[in-house]
Symmetry: C2
Subunit: 312 residues, 2 copies
């Protein structure tokens, strides 16, 4: 079983409008809703890859209830181990302009998590992590959760001998990295914020020195750059696929974690992660992956070792 | 008791963002929710004016449940006589740009109302209308409700001897007017659509010939123009008040209806409606009215009779 943690779950709402005009009134022609927050996106992809997945984090209020109903109605199933909170789960809204395909995004703030709710979550996490083959800690922290939360969760997983991937940003990432997770998966902006460097290769190596055993940096359409105990690799898709990048990073996390659990080596893990990302960008629905593109791409991802790499 | 009908209720959601930038991602700094749809707005104002109000229409799904909870938590209370429907009540979203104060509006489509749900509503309406001093029929029709719905509801009220105000647009207004409601309250655009004329005075008179006993046209900051069995009046606020016009028309409806029930003459009804409208535009929260502005303005509304008016 793979455990995914989404402390700041969201109900992802998508509005389609004929054309977005600021300060105008719009008839919404289509409304779609699905469980969201990075960890729940990762859980959905893991489950589609055939892995048993348990999702924890918080859900509360009427929006949380809708999220849980939608989570339960999906096949293949993700086991719902979300902890109830008194505050209401946030919504995110993507307004898609049908004329251009462009998306305008609105993210509500998360609910305030109380100290007893955080304690209840820690109990749930401590119990679940012992049965997990790997853990994904994903996304932002809702108000009320201590900023060092991910460091605590990383240490618990490591004490239980369970590999943990951390995918967050800012201070939560900085604190979490110091607790020595198995992997982090920043994008270029998150990596620059962590290390102060905009040059991906030295920045990726710097992030590893801060504590992560492996740093996998997503470079958008150029693929992934990984610095690990076994060496440094760059993995790129065979060609640039057009589409919507929403969720591509979450699919990469699912690829890395599923391949880790299945015992693949680094080139294998990276090839899977890049193929899943590309198949997500190329899918007709934002955040889903297209299985045909995945099968087609994963055999032809180019995994190379940059010149002048450090010996492990 | 005044009965308000809102067939297409809505949960009105307001997002405040620092600055709206199309195709960008926005952190929502404030989220507000309240029961909406024109008839529920009218009910809120009537209730604040001290009238006993019963609100009917449809509410369904998780959004409908939130709407009913919010309706129940308001003081002074509006009696909830909403009929459950299987579809989910729609949301409307107003995105307020904090830098400019401008609002961008998104309106979800309403739930599909089934034939048994419509029959159930008619039972409820027929029962409630007999105990009402006046009825307000407000807003758009959700999918599934017959386009002649308002004509049926007007006739039922008239058969029970209860005066009825109809505030809708398009084909629903055209059909409803023919059933001879006591009052309609179009804005200039709705009136032009109904009559084909953009000149308010002849258009207002034309609308009256189509069946309404009185036509009160809202002219935005210029106030109201009324053609009635007793004469024609124009009512204007003493000065233009700056602010957000959202809900000003609904406040005018509440003013007209409450004054009718209290036995005020036409100049008195129009003065109240104009003062409530102005106090709504001037209120800090969109769609609420500012009681101080209302008290201050209502004594100084200018009610005049245009030159060359028809004798009643």
């Amino acid at each position: 079983m793979i455990l995914t943690v989404t402390l700041n779950t969201a109900l992802d709402v998508t509005y389609r409008v004929p054309r977005l005009r600021p300060h105008d009134s719009h008839r919404v022609t289509e409304v779609a809703q699905r469980p969201g927050g990075k960890g729940l996106n990762v859980a959905r992809v893991l489950s589609a890859l055939g892995h048993e997945v348990v999702a924890t984090g918080f859900a509360g209020g009427p929006v949380g209830a809708v999220l849980r109903t939608l989570l339960a109605s999906r096949a293949p199933a993700v086991t719902d181990a979300l902890v109830p909170c008194a505050g209401s789960t946030r919504r995110t809204l993507a307004v898609v302009d049908a004329a251009t395909g462009d998306t305008t995004q609105f993210n509500e703030p998360g609910p305030l998590i109380t100290a007893p709710e955080w304690a209840e979550f820690l109990n749930t996490y401590n119990r679940l992590v012992r049965g997990a083959a790997a853990v994904a800690l994903c996304g932002s922290l809702p108000p009320g959760v201590p900023v060092g939360a991910y460091a605590v969760l990383v240490r618990t997983a490591r004490a239980a001998g369970v590999p943990v991937l951390l995918d967050t940003s800012g201070e939560a990432l900085r604190r979490g990295v110091a607790a020595r997770p198995e992997m982090i998966k920043p994008n270029a902006a998150e990596l620059a914020e962590l290390t102060g460097s905009r040059d991906p290769l030295p920045a990726t190596r710097d992030a590893r020195r801060r504590g992560a055993h492996a740093v996998v940096t997503s470079l958008g359409p150029d693929g992934l750059l990984a610095t690990t105990t076994e060496g440094t690799w760059q993995a790129a898709p065979p060609r640039t696929l057009s589409g919507n990048p929403t969720g591509a990073g979450d699919s990469a996390v699912a690829g890395l974690l599923s391949a880790l659990v299945e015992g693949l080596d680094w080139p294998g893990r990276l090839a899977r992660a890049v193929a899943l990302s590309a198949a997500t960008v190329h899918a007709p629905t934002a955040g889903e992956f297209d299985p045909r593109t995945y099968e087609e791409v994963r055999g032809s991802v180019k995994v190379t070792q940059p010149q002048g790499q450090e010996r492990p």
